[in-house]
């Protein structure tokens, strides 16, 4: 079922982009979104334990979406008052809660591209969200012309918060979400494409890893009863990856990703792969075998 569900997700994802490019008529877009969301969340009958894991994960996702709203408020305010330095300061930390729960946000139709599209992902006239403002701040060193994007971003993250509140997450969400978060790292972050102007990629990577670890923690008791070795392996690999990242920490944040040379990025990538491999076997808890 999960496989079928994922398949639907993948196909749905493609449709979203195409439809979204074609029109952003609000009512049509919203109807589209509702459909996508129904497809995105599928039920897997859970044991009480798995259901409990889903509830805990739900609380976490709710909390992060609230934090996202809080932090984005500060960032948006700085952009609107034209304080470039303050806006640069707040940019990466605002994105952290988003990155921790990204796979959930991705389920809500057009929300993900609206908030997180990178240049070239969508036609330029439809390009909005964090990275649009990132480009203005770092490439042009200005907030000029960004007020509208800032307002839109604010309303989009508020929309996310509402949607997260109204959805009922399943045990499959933390199980697959943990791997998906690491896939995000492997696919676009390790290359430095995600934050190509600000080079704050390590904030995103760390947030993806944190989100994955929290998700795993919630299902861990169930995995533990099935396969203690797997749990030990995953925990060792989380620790390995975190140890690898530690030297790049600076205060509450991270060094610029430009400071990492090719071989340092490669080692990081390999540690992520080493962790994601056993993590992908956690799905076995869902079949109960």
């Amino acid at each position: 079922m999960a496989v079928l569900g994922l398949l639907v997700l993948l196909t749905a994802g493609c449709n979203v982009d195409r439809e979204w490019v074609a029109s952003r008529d609000p009512s049509e877009a919203e109807a589209q979104e509702e459909m996508q969301e129904q497809a995105a969340f599928f039920d897997i009958e859970g044991s009480p334990e798995l259901d409990a894991a889903a509830r805990k994960y739900q609380d976490y996702v709710d909390g992060q979406s609230e934090l996202l709203v809080d932090r984005t408020e500060g960032f948006v305010a700085a952009v609107k008052t034209g304080d470039v330095e303050e806006a640069k300061e707040l940019y990466a930390p605002s994105r952290v809660p988003w990155e921790r729960i990204e796979p959930i946000a991705e389920k809500f139709g057009t929300l993900d591209p609206e908030v997180d599209a990178r240049e070239g992902d969508v036609p330029d006239r439809q390009w909005t969200g964090f990275h649009r403002i990132e480009q203005a701040l770092w490439v042009e060193d200005t907030t000029e012309g960004q007020a509208e994007y800032a307002s839109e971003l604010m309303s989009d993250v508020r929309r996310l918060e509402r949607k997260v509140d109204n959805v009922r997450l399943q045990a499959s969400d933390p199980v697959f979400g943990a791997v998906e978060l690491l896939n995000e790292v492997s696919a676009t972050k390790i290359t430095g494409e995600e934050e190509r102007y600000s080079h704050t990629d390590l904030y995103d990577i760390a947030a993806n890893v944190e989100g994955a670890e929290v998700a795993f923690e919630f299902v861990k008791p169930v995995v533990e009863r099935q396969n203690t070795e797997l749990v030990a392996e995953i925990e060792t690999r989380f620790a390995d990856l975190e140890r690898e990242m530690e030297p790049y920490r600076r205060g509450d944040g991270w060094v610029s990703y430009e400071k990492l040379d090719e071989s340092e990025r490669r080692v990081l990538s390999q540690k992520v792969d080493a962790l994601a491999e056993p993590l992908s076997r956690v799905g076995r808890v869902l079949s109960g075998s």
């Binding site: 079922m1 999960a2 496989v3 079928l4 569900g5 639907v8 129904q38 497809a39 599928f42 039920d43 897997i44 009958e45 859970g46 044991s47 499959s172 199980v175 392996e233 690999r237 390995d240 390999q270 792969d273 080493a274 962790l275 491999e277 056993p278 992908s280 076997r281 956690v282 799905g283 076995r284 808890v285 869902l286 079949s287 109960g288 075998s289």
Partner: protein, 416 residues
């Protein structure tokens, strides 16, 4: 969890049983392969398999296949027993793949399949997987990483810098090597891919090389192939059927007990300066090699296997086989004979020059690289006219332990 209760997916009703049955259908082939029953692939196979277990590792004396995927790994573990676990897992998977089976069954819809699947429905393609240990496994930067330093064979010293080397450290060295050879490139790739996946967290690929055409014969039943210079290569190679030669030059009989019946593998990535070679006159090409291009015969002779006469002189009184020709220099000292098992390669285009990045991925097996390969290559690198047309860009040496016994694993004699 109840099996009968229906759950909703896309507004349709699916029971868990339906979902698992669906997944089961998709995964059926693999389940057969993994479950011990014979799959269609195994039945159709005939003699397309080469035995993984035996006195010597396969992929050395066994007839050379058409394709290569070679990978050098660096270990990321810290304890010898973790290497042992890795080698056991790798050996089990290699034995299965060489027998034409998938690395594992599993048709659980909620986890990724154990085998990556691309070799399903293909024959085993005479797949062989050969393992070797590099010098850095025993000692790296002066550190005895795994407590194995005292067991490092004398013969496993790093290959020293040799004349004409232009080595890229990123294409050299490695703690453990995997040589996967098969007649089908997808089978060879599948082997390395699945071993890399199994090794995730314990080993990372340091470099790897694909080879697409064998450049030597290792069996008298094989015709001599041509390398990318257009010349027959390996006419004078050791043939695996010649057990005396194999015992004299390939199989190890000295050094630590764990290496008895093993051998040493030297790998050299030799880039050919293709464009330059291609604009050299035939006469120059033939004098460089010392053989006629069309027949493969030594200069002045007619047949490929005619005896090489180093004394023969032309009408001008000069040696027919020039003093700096490749075959003259290569055969100077019989004690340096080696078993060559190389492949042609291309990595596409060199983006800096726009030239073809292609050549010979040289692999040789020998009892002692420092008495065989090293002096041979030192002489060639200094005097061989061929060095004008080639560059050695990668280098590695590995100790290939003896063959694997059933129920055992490669390197057991070192790690158990």
């Amino acid at each position: 969890m109840s099996e009968d209760k229906e759950t909703s997916l896309l507004g349709r009703k699916f029971s868990r049983r339906t979902a698992l049955t669906l997944a089961g259908t998709f995964g059926a082939g693999m389940a057969l392969g993994g479950g011990g029953a014979l799959s269609a692939r195994e039945l159709a196979e005939g003699d397309q398999t080469v035995e993984f277990y035996g006195e010597h590792q396969a992929g050395i004396a066994t007839p050379q296949q058409d394709r290569l995927h070679f990978a050098a790994f660096d270990l990321t573990v810290s304890k010898a027993e973790e290497i042992r676990d890795l080698m056991r897992a790798w050996s089990d998977a290699a034995a299965r793949m060489c027998a034409g089976k998938s690395v594992g069954g599993g048709n659980d819809a909620f986890v990724p399949p154990e085998d990556t699947g691309e070799a399903q429905d293909l024959t085993a393609g005479r797949l062989t997987v050969t393992f070797g240990f590099g010098p850095t496994l025993f000692e790296k930067d002066g550190k005895d990483r795994f407590g194995l330093a005292s067991r490092k064979p004398e013969a496993l010293q790093e290959i020293p810098d040799l004349p004409g080397d232009n080595l890229d450290p990123e294409l050299s060295g490695g703690d453990v090597c995997v040589q996967a050879c098969a007649d089908d490139p997808q089978v060879a790739f599948h082997a390395v891919r699945n071993l890399a996946r199994i090794g995730r967290g314990a080993a990372v690929i340091r470099w790897s090389q694909l080879g697409f055409g064998r450049t030597s014969s290792t069996s008298s039943a094989q015709k001599t192939p041509r390398n990318l210079m257009g010349f027959k290569d390996g006419t004078n190679n050791i043939r695996a059927e010649d057990e005396d030669l194999m015992d004299n030059y390939v199989w190890v009989r000295e050094g630590p007990a764990w290496m008895q019946s093993g051998t040493y593998l030297v790998a050299r990535r030799i880039r050919m300066l293709i464009e330059i070679w291609d604009r050299s006159p035939l006469l120059e090409q033939e004098q460089t090699i010392g053989r006629h291009r069309a027949s493969g015969a030594p200069l002045g002779k007619e047949d490929e296997y005619d005896k090489v006469d180093l004394e023969a002189k032309g009408p001008d009184g000069l040696p027919l086989i020039p003093m700096d020709s490749h075959i003259r220099l290569a055969r100077k000292d019989q004690r340096e004979r080696i078993l060559r098992r190389g492949y042609s390669f291309t990595d596409g285009m060199d983006s800096k020059t726009g030239q073809l990045d292609a050549g010979l991925f040289f692999i040789s097996f020998q009892r002692d690289p420092h008495r065989q390969f090293v002096p041979l290559q030192r002489r060639l690198g200094q005097n061989d006219r061929l060095t004008e047309y080639i560059q050695h860009t990668g280098s590695a040496v590995f100790a290939c332990p003896p063959g694997v016994r059933r129920g055992g694993f490669a390197g057991e004699s070192l790690l158990a």
